[in-house]
Symmetry: D2
Subunit: 356 residues, 4 copies
């Protein structure tokens, strides 16, 4: 069950970096949601490698095929399977990594857990698995759009460079996906510089969901922020999650943190759109910390399967900074969480007393 | 299912702030774990209100009763129910809050979600629900101890005050539960000062788990950090979660972030004990951001159920800073996640090929 | 998770035969369902021991207490806990069974599974656990009633005696709960005769649900009949389940089994109200085979914990036939399944295309 | 989540009768289980259409492709995806069924539930979905074999013809898969006769699992018989389930039904290998009632989507009796349930007190 996420709307993924295909089954999707290959493809293209100089140069067309659950252009209520065949797999690139554990990667831990490891690329731990998430997120996004919800993620920090503007339209117009035009160029240069040094950079991705109705999220254990945290922390390389003020809340007094309410709604949104695990109707704002890619071309100390010490330089075509390509994955997971919460809320509403 | 957490070892809680009792059922606990009321009571006493000047003065003895699942001093494999009766409930304290939504609380969102609201205290959204978590965590802790794992949480930030030392033995010797003796006193004074001003303070709680074997955690969706994030973000007032370097990782280069491996183990622990969703064998280190309590005695703008604007001052006995009492809850949830992961890992080990 | 049933509306039970209490948490119940102790008590009283000569003479008042989830007479959407304290527990009755495995009981299998066993009564395997199911079913029944659904179970076979009439009003007017007045008296006499011989009788219980809207049940794995089967087969002593024609369907040709459809609905109901895992709108009709109680006063061959052979006569106050007391449990589980399916169907309906 | 089955070892299926592919993801499989295409193919071939005169003449090679989770011939612990492409799909065969509901099929109920329906074949309700189950069952079977468990199903009744012998080796040597050589031929003739009359026959399939260790199955809600019932009742056309004596238990007295225990084990197996939801170590024996196929060539009364009455004769290539092809599906689902239970039992054993 470790490859499944969601309670009512559930995604289950499969596939390894250099296996024949990656894909997923999305179960619990309501009927009547318009869906076709082209729509999903558009979302996948935003995640695709090789989009710009700041991403890996590995080329994968990532052509999606819808295998089930859609008939005459709409979902039927049946489980939806989608698959992407691998094309640019070069397993021989990885034969040198058969017996050695790359620092920062999951090589050692998979070995410790399973006693066996698909060493081609990162196997099951590869970021390639997120193809499946983006495909599923595409369905969830369609469902949310019908209810007027919109989800967008963007890069707000790369290394020490921090965006201050939130010009969301601008975010998709630069390769870093930064909503601050002034900083975007600097970020791009910093990434290229790190890449040229054989090194890599971390960053922060923010996601904003607008048009989310009040009432989504299920206390006590399935608080909306808990589901979002689980969803986003399950993305490889993510080391932190926060909602609203997040860690900055530690420095605020109650009188500063509490959002006053007026007859026209909330006067501020320090909470980030969630109170007590339930959406307030304000925009939901979350951020994730993304570590620098572990595959770097500088020499590192490590060990092999026999425990012997080795010096390792990871060759190959790797992302110098993950943020630009994590953006669509963060959106996908956010869409899945919100769509799940929306469906669950619809389930109890027919019995709900009081004002609608 | 919104009150349930865990996949194999599952806790389901019940109870409202001013209802007759709070409690839980823990299902999936293996047989043979020693357990009695006194052991659980010790853990509950660390969470109890009224422990010191920096916590609420509300008095609740919080006497636990084990209702099932234990026979002759050990768990039997049956579901374990525990309950704590309410004693110091004063529902009349809350009649003035019947029609008004307190800022920062879940009052409004429960109303929007359910169309009905138990307005006594915070009803189901009350921190009192964490009694149930601590009781369950006590069982999980016993199980982990038998495997040599130890889990401790402590306060590392209150407002602007940040602990730099990690003297874990010291943490339980001051009311703030701070592992930095030098800062602990300052934190205590800051909390009392905020309380006297009718205000409240936020902070950061860190948790460390040592003796955790490598191999725990289930990729891809049930990564150990994702489960920990969900568990800890489901605690009321928590606004952020991070593991290892967390948000600081955004500023590190790959060559700084990657932990080198040597024949004697990892040379550093920037990862916080988890790689690819699986424990490395190094200490697991996480932090949560805790917002300042929303119940403050300063006047705030809000609305009532008719949408009319109101000025509200929240009376009553409230915590001026949640960190000291969140500490045992963070420990409990961490124990539940790790015990669940440990049991799941045991499930697959009999078939595991390769070296043990 | 082994004590939990349901996907959206989930019941988790606790308690052993001679422990301090039995009870449950029902999670996922929508808000706004009227509920009070007296309503639940009425349902529990139908299950209570000591109702007539054909049931065990053990006396348990089985007073229910609602611990959470209800405020001012209606459910709030929070998890609902209910508990019944044990009163007539006589643990010493069972000390003689400490080291011996009773034939037909779960004594041996619990021992094999857990290596430890609560030997007082049947411990966790006791029929007393069904108190919790009936309490939860009472909530589900209230929810179904609001939608016009009605669920009734009744005894249709005891030993060789088979009811042919289905006078449902009559069923609650005789101690056997048989809807065939002519046969009810014979069944009663047969049970008393078996009891006097120190033996016990099996039987069949049927359940009928009317007013169930078409569309409930989720293909493929959560077919309505699969959920009903799991629910009813989880009741102790149940050895078989069938829906509609059930095992009689094996002898029917397709042309006999298929229910013709007319403009006024189905012309027959061989299917038992379910096609392809989804309700048709016709009455749902299921039956369960109930084995004779294993606790009998005739000498039986068995073994003790050391493997030594023993002859055993089970003393104490036991049901000579389980059917009359299984009836309310079958109703409760059926109500839980249907309410769960109803809530899940409500979840997807807002997006449903086509005619309502 | 309606296409998912299992708690620890979970299968999620996808695919419609005339869609591009059917398949599944099996999650939770331990590492180290040998697996290759050829092994799975052997199991699929036993389910394939067109095997003999008593099955449908539709031809599907049903070539399986393993997409993930296997590396160098063994499972890795990652989710295992397998897929079978459709080849002999003839969607135009079904255009006449676009607006009419076939009696006995799920056409009407899918329409009522979803408001949309894939009318090609039976869409998602097609028996073709069981390809995915057999593929998953093949993995579970490999796991069970390593522990010495063996699962075999066979036809014990067709219409009025009942097998009395249980010569399991014989079962795979006749097209009906009947373990009674004397009756097998009669069954075959009866099926062909019904087919020639444009009609179809029901039957009963029995499954036997030997070598199952004592202790599998999780009380209270996840009793082994409840999981088996859910698994087998989720197979299309199955109308009843029983274990051990099943419905015959209704006629037995306690003194007849209880299996005596001796120092050499159980003296009989009326229980069918399960007591209190947990395996006893004796063979597990279950039976399912299989209704006659609904697709028959005789004229039937039905309605169309506008409610108008129609007379319908279902054309095409259909199974005249499902039993022979249900046999491998029953085996697959039984294997999945037992493997799940086995893995779960392994999870708690390390803490189990007492004798092993």
């Amino acid at each position: 069950m470790s490859s499944t996420f969601g309670k009512f709307l559930t995604i289950t993924t499969f596939g390894e970096s250099h296996g024949p295909a990656v894909g997923m089954i999305l179960d619990g999707c309501p009927p009547g949601i318009p869906l076709d290959d082209a729509t999903v493809q558009r979302d996948l293209d935003r995640r695709r490698p090789g989009q710009s100089a700041v991403t890996t140069q590995r080329q994968e067309p990532d052509r999606v095929e819808i295998l089930s659950g859609v008939f005459e252009g709409i979902t039927t209520g049946a489980s939806i399977a989608m698959m992407v065949r691998s094309v640019d797999a070069r397993p021989k690139d990885y034969s040198t990594l058969k017996d050695v554990f790359r620092p920062g990667h999951a090589d050692l831990t998979y070995w410790k857990k399973y006693g066996v490891r698909d060493h081609r690329g990162s196997g099951r731990a590869s970021g390639r698995e997120t193809v499946a998430r983006v495909a599923a997120g595409s369905v969830a996004r369609r469902l949310l759009e019908r209810e007027g919800c919109r989800v967008q993620a963007y890069t707000v920090q790369v290394g020490d460079l921090v965006a201050t503007e939130r010009d969301l339209a601008a975010a998709e117009q630069n390769p870093v996906r930064c909503p601050d035009r002034a900083v975007a160029g600097e970020m791009e240069r910093a990434i290229l510089e790190a890449r040229d040094a054989g090194d890599s950079l971390g960053g922060v991705v923010e996601v904003q969901a607008t048009g989310v109705p009040a009432g989504l999220g299920d206390p006590v254990m399935d608080k909306l922020e808990a589901s979002l945290a689980a969803a986003l922390m399950s993305i490889g390389a993510v080391k932190g999650f926060e909602v609203g003020e997040g860690f900055a809340a530690a420095r605020l007094r109650g009188s500063q943190m509490n959002d006053p309410m007026t007859s026209r709604g909330f006067a501020s949104n320090h909470a980030g759109g969630i109170l007590g695990g339930i959406s307030t109707g304000e925009p939901i704002v979350c951020r994730v910390a993304v570590k620098a890619p572990s595959s770097i071309a500088v020499a590192q100390r490590t060990v092999d399967v026999t425990g012997g010490e080795r010096e390792l330089t990871v060759e190959g075509r790797h992302d110098p900074c993950l943020c630009p390509r994590v953006v669509p994955v963060v959106e996908a997971m956010t869409c899945l969480v919100l769509a799940d919460a929306l469906i669950r809320q619809r389930a109890i509403e027919p019995w709900r007393p009081g004002p609608a």
